[in-house]
Subunit: 245 residues, 4 copies
């Protein structure tokens, strides 16, 4: 379903006027106002799908690389009714450089991902699917997806035969300690497209917001497929057989 020449298309598309939700990656970051508007719209859409209920989840995007600046929602807000004025701009020590509010302690994880993989956008969702799977598969350390065409929507993946490993990290309230484990995970597995925090949710990212949003939809889809496959009694689906053997 995904054309082999997507990169070429994306380059061409960049030269056109990009709408807020379709904003492509910009190596120097996207202006704050445009980013806040895009994140607001993404929040509304994810809330409708039940992926960020109860003020859970958070979204960020790089607005400047040099110096590093991140747009991120203030903590404790309903993601279904955000307004662009509720976004902050922070530096790489989570100091507020623009806006009124307080960043979530999880901003440290967003920064660890931005620094670790050079992401331009980081999206954290908290769905039923990720909560169920990150609990049931925690003892295996992660979940392997293989054989699904949907995998081709992950940046750089060319075939459904690809095996995607989605690590599960133990949850913690110590964000300094946890961001350190996130950095280590990214160094150890630089080709992953996301990870789960146990019974907490999904972190994924992209060069820009559009790519990160695509990754959310793909990983949430694959987790839903796995939970429903098991509920239907398909316990021997490829993803549960030891891959690489």
């Amino acid at each position: 379903m995904f054309g082999v020449t997507r990169k070429k298309i994306e380059r061409r598309a960049k030269r056109r006027n990009a709408t807020a939700t379709n904003a492509r990656s910009n190596p120097n970051g996207t202006p704050f106002a445009e980013t806040a508007a895009s994140l607001t719209e993404i929040g509304r859409g994810f809330h409708v799908r039940g992926w960020v209920l109860g003020t859970s989840g958070n979204f960020s995007a790089v607005t400047s690389r040099e110096p590093l600046r991140l747009a991120i929602a203030s903590t404790g807000l309903d993601k279904g009714s955000l307004s662009p004025t509720q976004f902050l701009e922070v530096d790489n020590a989570v100091n507020i450089v623009r806006g009124d509010g307080r960043p979530s302690a999880e901003a440290l994880l967003h920064l660890a991902i931005v620094r670790g993989v050079g992401a331009g956008a980081v999206l954290h969702t908290h769905s039923v699917w990720s909560t169920v799977l990150s609990g049931s598969h925690a003892s295996q350390g992660g979940i392997a997806f293989e054989g699904y065409e949907m995998l081709k929507g992950l940046e750089g993946v060319r075939t459904h035969k690809h095996r995607e490993w989605l690590p599960i990290l133990e949850n913690s309230q110590d964000m300094v300690e946890l961001s350190d484990r996130v950095s280590k995970t990214l160094r150890a597995s630089p080709s992953i497209h996301g990870f789960l925090l146990k019974e907490h949710g999904l972190y994924t990212w992209g060069a820009g917001l559009q790519e990160a949003k695509r990754h959310v939809e793909i990983l949430e889809f694959l987790m839903e497929v796995l939970v429903r496959s098991r509920a239907a009694g398909e316990r021997l689906i490829p993803a549960l057989i030891e891959p690489g053997s």
Copy 2:
């Protein structure tokens, strides 16, 4: 996902102009017209999610503490197409002091919660998830949730290691008797954030409507996680193991 300094943020937010749906707790209650508009919007959103089908569910909020006044929808209405004119204001004996209609007999439960825990808003939903779980777990007297990050969205909870007990009360058509049992439950377990009526639904509350709405989303989410985990064959998830042992 929830910042440790949420209370500070909320205090600051209170000083700003609160929109209808984001109205924070007001110790003296929120004006009737604003409350009715907020409850109308909440009803529409919950109906879309299937949490108040068939005229089920009800919503109330304190409009005055001294004397006690409660805004509550008239009985028997479709919660997906309420209008603010369909709300009543009642006193602590369920006498109508404003509006045209008749309060649900369940207004007695709302008042018992307002008096029992000092709530500023009470939301009653009637989802598939709460109906399934309140039936299957009735013999255990309640459901324990533990280990989920989402728990941190419940007011006062600081860690996912928190254990939340959601009592299940036997259903009844005698609202005087039932409100008495609700009051006793709240005295016996003052730290709970909600309870279920067997095969009937969820009652939860908050200092204000925003907090109560957050609690609905969180408790409905956790119940959905439990039902789907069991359907997927995860019968030994933490919540089903004897907690406290």
Copy 3:
């Protein structure tokens, strides 16, 4: 959740201006244009919920009792994008007295229900839940629901201890033969609120459209509860135990 004095409220409400979707029962029928607008809106809402996909389902309401006139959608249309001009008015022999199109052969079933129980509105949905359950329970001849508070939303039901029997009729393409079986079922069980056609869907009704819509939401809810309860492994829920014993 449903007030004991709903009837009184409904009488009072009738004296107010009723909006299209809230139109109450009118013993002499509701004007055609208003009915077509209400049915159009109901169709859109049901399509969003997946209850009338693929042009399935149909809706009708009595526009006149003497002589009998029924508003009903023309056959074969997408119920999610109806327009009021796609409704027909037919007499008691399914002759078109207003509008351009052709009534579904199932109009005979709608007329059998209008005549059999004096309904003012008949709604036929075709959900996944009703398809699954009408297949799995066909050999038992129907499904019993008992103990659910939601039952109180069915007209005339006063307590969750009520036992509601939802008969399942064998499906057929011979509408004359099938409408005859429907009439017999209604004579044999005059207190039912709906019935299923095997692997086909639900028929329910009400004194007016609002009541019929409420019955759809309630019966679809209860069927979803049953399917999900079984998926979660709750195979001994009350509805599956021999009732009346």
Copy 4:
């Protein structure tokens, strides 16, 4: 639910002004602008239902038969926020004759279907249901549906007793090879209404867009019924018993 005289109605309807989404089949194809608008609207609706997440899925319609011209979305786009300007018009060798972008490699499959069965529109969705079932039933080569009233919505089907075979083809990244297998499948089973690619999704079609959209809704519905039936423990439903015996 489907009238026996639908064909007659459709003929009459064609003479009326058709709205974009209700556009009926035109033997000579529908103008490009109207087609692009219809496909944009279909994409938005399917994305809401979760059938084309993560830029998956694609849609096409014949705009001219002689010479053959196909409107199809450019590759790699979010199907929930398409604009008509993102559609291309291609000839029978997938050369672009109108628009800016690049067609998906899967355009070859669309053309194989247009040529193989004379379809006027081809819709490819990628739902959780089709992914689960095409994986679990791949070894049987397909899925049989029988006994469901919903089957009557498939063009030419007159009774719920019809048996519909939905073949499952092995997935591939070689679109030339895969389009060849699709052509062979259509020659071998000319009466099918769609097929699955393993762990990839559904292809279905129709004389026009409205018919193709109806077929998507019907086949997605039937797959959801099957997955949920199995989850509820109904493992002996007709579709799983050896058909034809």
